[in-house]
């Protein structure tokens, strides 16, 4: 059987049954930090739902912040 994966910021990772907040903690990103947003499969997941939104196999996750820009 093929291993289940998810893609986090373009990086393919083994899938674990976890919430958005748990994924962030695992990546070393404190979910309570200001200035961060998350999208799963092209849809923004509101900060208030990070602790309840369960990730699924093959999800495409984007975790972003503000950087210097013009």
């Amino acid at each position: 059987m093929k291993e289940m994966t998810i893609v986090v910021n373009g990086e393919c990772q083994p899938y674990r049954a976890q919430t958005v907040a748990e994924l962030m903690e695992m990546q070393g990103i404190a979910p309570e930090r200001a200035g961060i947003a998350v999208a799963v499969n092209g849809k923004v997941i509101a900060r208030s739902r990070w602790r309840e939104h369960q990730l699924q196999p093959d999800d495409q996750v984007e975790i972003v912040k503000a950087v210097a820009g013009g």
Partner: protein, 277 residues
């Protein structure tokens, strides 16, 4: 003794001169801004120079981009640095489709808690000219989603009118390609845009020196957004101040109204009472 109404004190003369010499504030979507200069935060030699340049520019609006966090630990973000002192305007730089731009705007709104967006949808990676078709589509969706949309666009009056009709809060035509420092390539188009649009016109991209800024402000454009012209100057902090002065000078000159042009001389000093030998 002469009544003070006929001979105002030097204090009230000073106050009235100050009031008369004050430029009108910029208002976008009902929000008043104290500065007509918007400054980008990228490409400075280092972070301290960026902060000093922002300070010297007098800008209230600072632009930022939205990018992936690096996995495995995080440092301070530009948002942490700026959020207490500036009105942060996120952009959708780097987006080539309406879909990417709309998602980026939504991520920016969630991350930074602002529904203002500098909408960029790029159509060509050498010139960074906008993709007008995708830009109009993204603008429509974002206005419908409740965003205050400030679109970076071509110096094309027709596109600007369409963006205004969609409900964009301002239009931001380019002076020249982003980061080119080429100055105002088509001043007459900008003038037509200023005359035909009722929303504020913020000239975005391509200016190189303060005289470029003064030119567009003198013709009545409402503000200027720049980044590289300051960040890539030999001394960015000095250039930031120079740009601030140019924005202020240009705006005041526009409000003051220029003198009419004449082909021939017209003496300033009176002709009567000259000595005769």
């Amino acid at each position: 003794m002469t009544p003070s109404v006929e001979s105002p004190s030097s204090l009230s003369v000073e106050a009235s001169a100050k009031a008369a010499a004050k430029a009108a504030p910029l208002v976008i979507a009902g929000r008043t801004f104290r500065s007509r200069l918007f400054l980008g935060t990228a490409r400075y030699p280092n972070q301290q120079v960026m902060l000093d340049a922002l300070e010297a520019s007098g800008a209230e609006v600072a632009t930022v981009a939205i990018r992936r966090v690096s996995l495995g630990g995080q440092s301070e973000t530009v948002f942490d640095l700026l959020k207490d002192r500036y009105f942060i305007l996120p952009n959708t730089a780097g987006c080539y489709t309406a879909r990417d731009a709309v998602l980026t705007a939504h991520l920016a709104r969630e991350a930074l808690g602002t529904n203002w967006i500098k909408l960029e949808v790029i159509g060509d990676d050498e010139t960074l000219f906008p993709d007008v078709e995708q830009l109009l589509q993204a603008a429509r969706e974002l206005v419908e989603d409740g965003f205050v949309v400030l679109p970076y666009c071509n110096d094309d009056p027709v596109t600007c009118k369409k963006l205004e009709a969609i409900g964009c809060a301002a239009v931001m035509p380019l002076a020249a390609p982003i980061g080119s420092g080429m100055g105002v390539r088509n001043p007459y188009n900008l003038q037509i845009i200023r005359e035909q649009c009722r929303v504020p016109v913020i000239v975005d991209a391509g200016v190189g020196v303060p005289s470029d800024v003064a030119v567009v402000m003198e013709m009545g454009c409402d503000g200027v957004l720049l980044n590289s012209a300051v960040a890539q100057a030999r001394e960015p902090v000095k250039m930031a101040r120079a740009m601030r002065l140019a924005v202020e000078a240009g705006r005041l000159a526009y409000e003051a109204g220029r003198m009419p042009r004449r082909l021939y001389a017209s003496a300033s000093s009176p002709l009567e009472g000259r000595i005769q030998l």
